[in-house]
Amino acid sequence: MTIQTDAVSSFEGSVGVPVVIPFSRRFYWSVRRELWENRSLYLVPLAVAALFLLAFLIGHNPHSHVHIGFSPNSMQGQGPQVFEQPYTIVALLLMGTTFLVALFYCLEALHGERRDRSILFWKSLPVSDTTTVLAKASIPILFLPLITFATVLVTQGIMLLLSSAVMLARGQNVADLWSHLPLWQMSLMLFFHMVAIHGLWYAPFYGWWLLVSAWARRAPLLWAVLPPAVVAVVEKIAFNTSHFAALIGYRFGGSPEKVPFTVGPMSMGVLTASDVVQFFTDPGLWTGLALTAVFLAAAVRLRRYREPM
């Protein structure tokens, strides 16, 4: 094979240009490409956070009758729940947002490039279908949870500062607020929740959506939702059971029941090492990840065969 050596010797650029680009670099650029194209991945969570902060600020205004979230007047003699409440709400709100953003991202990820024929451009470059699909899958599994974690953290930080400023202005004791909020615990819990639940536990959802996105000719949202719904209905009519619906609900519900946190992650739960161990040894998690791998492999294969629409 003289092709490679010829090509290298006739290359007019600088010396030592790598002829093989490592997977990590192709993956890195593929992920950056996704972030360039889908700015909603971070803009939507930021917009939701900004709206919440605005509401929080209005709630703080002593002249306002709106009491969203933390109100320093009502805190006397109350338990830590009252302090935590708005912090929990913003976290839940942003998690819900993330889930929706992930849904729309995944459904568009492999469908849009066929619709606008840009797949012909991407395929003209030495980036394999596997690299591309893995980069796209990493967005909801890895990057969106991290983006959300950072957004929640920053938002909660701003809320804390806002509350402190208001309380200081009123001559109240700020230490009360700070000591009642288990900041470190909350952040740790949030981080674990985002990575474990939104990343890994929900991964089969993302895999399925990406598969539908690679397969559907039109209306991927419909194809993503209808077949599971039909299965659930048929099962109900035929056998009068609802195992499939329960399975989806169990997956969506958040986590293995044994692990002591569910959708309300900010509640009193304290993250212990045994929780982490329990989560990572749960067969449900690994079944889900195996299913995700199957979905993604199918998506890779479809992308290889599919032509632009």
């Binding site: 010829d6 006739s10 093989v20 650029w29 606008d116 470059l125």
Partner: protein, 288 residues
């Protein structure tokens, strides 16, 4: 080693046969025009060569099998499939960054130098560029890649004549050298005539004509025959006859130029005329 080698290349979509046993050999350093009517199998052939579609039969591109070895092949092969496949959201600078990031043979300085000659701004998004500018951008990206084979499928479709001319001029002057191979399809046959070294006509999934340009020009002659000599000219068995402004124009294969000169004005047949002659002959034969 040949750049492209195909033996009995076949491809069917259900009942419809797109490629019906193609044999083709393209040597390094050639510029081959693949010309055929709509639905003849041009794009299918290119897709097979680019590893975008599975096929039957034997096919080697730069010594690799395109379908099974696609990822590695794409380091040495570049293509512009159709116009306007650059994603509309991408910025010019991002496109440069991305290709520089993933392509081992991309020379960014070369692409920048080419873009500097255009009015394209680094911060523009593709959707803000005119069709001609998008084609320029794509060409800038592709020409900066030190590839062995460049495949162009209707690269100038929908562009005005100025852009089209510029496109092929850049390709020839700034890109092509004897070590590269270019394979292209287009319907604007006349415009690429002076660009090509080889011509292949494809019809109904088969190759019906495969010649170098020199061979073509020395073999095929057209004569605008004077009416009184029509019968004599026809006796020499023209392969095609057409009428232009009341004059019969006869196309001959392998007939001596001096002999034809007696009937009227002789000129070398253009690709377009030859194409029409060969495809129409074939289609009427097929219909009979």
């Amino acid at each position: 080693m040949a750049c492209i080698e195909a033996h009995g290349l076949r491809k069917a979509f259900g009942q419809k046969i797109a490629l019906d046993g193609i044999d083709l050999q393209v040597e390094e350093g050639r510029i081959l025009g693949l010309i055929g009517p709509n639905g003849a199998g041009k794009t299918t052939a290119l897709n097979a060569i680019l590893g975008l579609t599975p096929y039957q039969g034997q096919l080697k591109v730069l010594g690799r099998e395109p379908w099974s070895d696609r990822d590695r092949l794409m380091c040495d092969v570049c293509f512009i499939s159709d116009v306007a496949v650059l994603p509309r959201w991408i910025k010019v600078s991002q496109a440069l960054d991305y290709v520089a990031g993933v392509h081992p043979r991309f020379d960014r300085a070369k692409a920048e130098a080419f873009l500097a000659k255009t009015t394209i701004h680094r911060n523009s998004k593709v959707r803000e560029l005119s069709k001609g500018m998008v084609a320029q951008l794509h060409l800038a990206l592709v020409m900066a890649i030190d590839a062995k084979l460049l495949v162009l499928d209707e690269p100038t479709l929908g562009l005005d004549i100025l852009y089209r001319k510029q496109f092929y001029d850049s390709l020839l002057n700034d890109y092509f050298d004897r070590s590269r191979t270019i394979l292209l399809t287009t319907h604007q046959v006349e415009e690429i005539e002076h660009v090509l070294t080889d011509v292949v006509f494809i019809n109904r999934g088969r190759i019906v004509f495969n010649r170098t340009i020199e061979e073509m020009e020395s073999r095929y002659l057209e004569v605008s025959v004077r009416p009184e000599q029509l019968a004599a000219a026809r006796a020499l068995k023209p392969i095609y006859e057409r009428e232009v402004l009341g004059r019969s124009i006869l196309l001959f294969d392998h007939v001596d130029r001096r002999q034809l000169g007696a009937f009227g004005e002789v000129r070398t047949a253009g690709i377009a005329d030859l194409f029409v002659a060969i495809i129409e002959n074939q289609n009427s034969k097929g219909a009979a």
